[in-house]
């Protein structure tokens, strides 16, 4: 029944296997670049220089990474409860509505308390939109994968209607709200550093990054150091044991999806409050779906998610530069890499596990048990 091989050591499990999986995704991406007729090594060089070669590149990279940390955490927290939230995209979209409504209509709030309330509103709207699939899963057994996918379309249609017919500035052609007051903006780093005499190029990189790191720490503490986290992991690992242990899987399902939706709201904070300063159509740009790849690659652990988010930030920023320098390689190449990461880190997660275990077992002399 059980494999005769001894289990992998922790370092191999946590670091080596994900690294091999990601490397495999990149090697195959390299072949795709080769097939297009470009030099993969040159492409990698352009990509990395574009993403990390100067402060401007780094600013954009970290701006993207901020979004990915939030969406990755949103997906990961659901993984721990055994749920697959594919609706981060839609939840973040609705969170943008919350942020915008607060920013536009609560302008009477004193100073920067407005942005704090707007952030809270983003989390609240994200959570509220996630609550419906969460409730349906918990009480009606409607599978959350199906409902959240459908809710992405509902979010898209609803926001399209609101932006075009309700929130748009009259006479304005663009489907967007008026701009927010400066007190509804999450400050960008180049603004903050300028008074200190530090020149940082103008990038959308803003304080949401620190909020994302704080959220990562909070998720880690929640999952591994609190009673709620214990209950979430128990439900995810063994729902029957959870019931035996006096834990209600329905309650945990609802709470977890609420938290996930609130975390998805971070994407809206970063993009809408941190960069755009107005609500625009489709601002989520598929970043909610990237969160799935980030969570898989980061193995649902906040540290792994931060690292994976930065890697995807590099891919997005570097990918833009690459598409600019090498017109044959379109931005869609990034989607290809993303897909391959999901394939290797998610679907084929265990493909390299056995060969690695065999290799390690051969190298280390095993003491008899």
């Amino acid at each position: 029944m059980s494999s005769p091989l001894k289990p992998l050591p922790a370092w191999a499990d946590v670091a080596l296997i994900p690294l091999i999986n990601v490397a495999a995704a990149f090697v195959i991406s390299g072949f795709v670049v080769l097939a297009i007729g470009e030099n993969p090594l040159e492409a990698v060089q352009i990509l990395i220089t574009g993403a990390l070669g100067d402060l401007e590149g780094i600013g954009f990279t970290l701006y993207y990474a901020t979004s990915f940390i939030f969406t990755g955490l949103a997906v990961a927290i659901c993984f721990h409860a055994g749920l697959f939230n594919i609706g981060v995209e839609g939840q973040a979209y609705l969170a943008g509505l919350g942020a915008a409504l607060a920013a536009l209509y609560l302008g009477f709030l004193p100073g920067y308390s407005l942005v704090v309330v707007a952030i809270a509103a983003a989390a609240l709207f994200g959570a509220a939109f996630a609550a419906i699939p969460g409730y349906l899963q918990a009480k009606r057994d409607s599978h959350i994968v199906i409902t959240t996918i459908m809710f992405n379309y509902i979010a898209s249609a609803l926001m399209g209607y609101l932006l075009v017919d309700v929130l748009r500035v009259p006479g304005q052609m663009n489907a967007e709200t008026p701009g927010f007051s400066k007190y509804a903006a999450v400050p960008q780093f180049h603004e903050l550093l300028a008074p200190l005499g530090i020149q940082w190029p103008v990038t959308p990189f803003n304080l949401s990054f620190l909020l994302a790191l704080a959220a990562a720490l909070a998720v880690w503490l929640l999952i591994w150091r609190t009673r709620l986290g214990y209950e979430i992991r128990t439900v995810g690992a063994n729902a029957t044991a959870a019931i035996y242990g006096g834990i209600s899987p329905a309650r945990i399902t609802i709470i977890t999806t609420l938290l996930s939706g609130a975390l998805a709201g971070g994407l809206a904070v970063n993009v809408i409050l941190g960069q755009e300063h107005r609500l625009i159509l489709e601002f989520t740009g598929g970043f909610g779906f990237v969160g799935i790849a980030v969570a898989l690659m980061g193995r649902a652990h906040p540290v792994g998610i931060i690292l994976a988010a930065i890697l995807f930030g590099v891919l997005y920023q570097g990918g833009d530069e690459l598409a600019f320098d090498k017109p044959k390689i379109s931005r869609d190449m990034i989607v290809v890499i993303q897909g391959l990461v999901v394939l290797f880190a998610g679907a084929l997660e265990h493909m390299f596990r056995r060969p690695v275990a065999v290799l390690l077992a051969r190298r280390t002399t095993q003491p008899p048990i």
Binding site: P7, L221, R225, T226, R227, Y230, E231, R233, T234, A237, N238, T240, A241, I243, Y244, G245, G246
Partner: protein, 272 residues
């Protein structure tokens, strides 16, 4: 497993049954498909005795145990604890733990433990809300590990590694971990299901001694097992289930495997 019949003999003195700790009246329980599995079962369980529930697997024992533990809803009848009816609001695992009903589930893999968890985390399942594991919002990891260490010491769980994954322990040691968790909380009533299924001989003896020690400490124990030898070795009194009904009740000292075997098939020699 050892290629011969193993004689389970345990030194145990006379039982001294006291007050009625648990009473069941006309209990009806359905399984997940809605089939009636327990059909009008009534019995009493006294302090200081082990009541064995014998029967061929699938005759309602599992559902009875789950219903008593608050995992499975009742379709009829009532449960009385210390003479007081258990209100529906308290018919759940959490509330029952609070009033001192311990439960060793039949299936440690699927129910009793969380296999991917560290042993120390499995060792607090059901009690994880308690303040001994951390007074504030956050858990106190040291307290969790120390608590698991104490339980492992008391029940000789090997290896004594609170941080080892639960799945990496042998079946016997996993079972000892479950028993340690439940018994160390000192419940007044214990519901014990298949305590030695898939457990090595050494651990069987150890577990049996612990169960008898609980009885001698004045606890009320309900033992469900499909091992007739185990029922005969441990129980003071035995009820036999067949088709969801009690087909007979015997004192352990004046019955034998043949008598019980007939009852399990629904035939009562003495009544005939």
């Amino acid at each position: 497993m050892v290629g011969r019949k193993v004689i389970l003999k345990i030194d145990k003195g006379m039982a001294h049954p006291g007050r009625v700790a648990l009473e069941v009246r006309n209990l009806v329980v359905r399984d997940d498909r809605g089939v009636v599995r327990v059909n009008g079962v009534s019995f009493v369980l006294k302090e200081g005795e082990i009541l064995g529930v014998a029967g061929v697997a699938g005759n309602g024992q599992s559902e009875l145990l789950e219903a008593l533990a608050g995992i499975r809803p009742l379709s009829g009848g009532e449960i009385l604890v210390d003479g007081e009816p258990l209100p529906p609001a308290k018919h759940n695992p959490h509330a029952e733990r609070l009033i001192g009903i311990g439960h060793v589930p039949e299936d440690r893999h699927r129910v009793g433990l969380v296999m991917p968890f560290e042993a120390c985390e499995s060792a607090m399942l059901g009690f994880h809300y308690e303040t001994v594991y951390g007074k504030g919002v956050l858990y106190d990891r040291k307290a969790i590990i120390a608590d698991a260490g104490r339980k492992m010491e008391a029940f000789d769980v090997r290896p004594r590694a609170p941080l080892l994954k639960t799945a990496n322990f042998s079946g016997g040691n996993q079972q000892k971990l479950v028993l340690a968790r439940e018994i160390e909380r000192n419940p007044k009533i214990m519901l014990v299901g298949q305590p030695t299924r898939g457990v090595d001989i050494g651990a069987i003896e150890f577990i049996h001694k612990r169960i008898v020690a609980q009885r001698d400490a004045g606890k009320a124990l309900l033992l469900v097992s499909v091992e007739l030898d185990e029922i005969l070795a441990l129980s003071d009194r035995i009820i036999v289930l067949c088709g969801g009904r009690i087909t007979g009740e015997r004192l352990a000292e004046d019955t034998n495997a043949q008598d019980l075997g007939l009852l399990m098939a629904g035939v009562d020699e003495r009544a005939a």
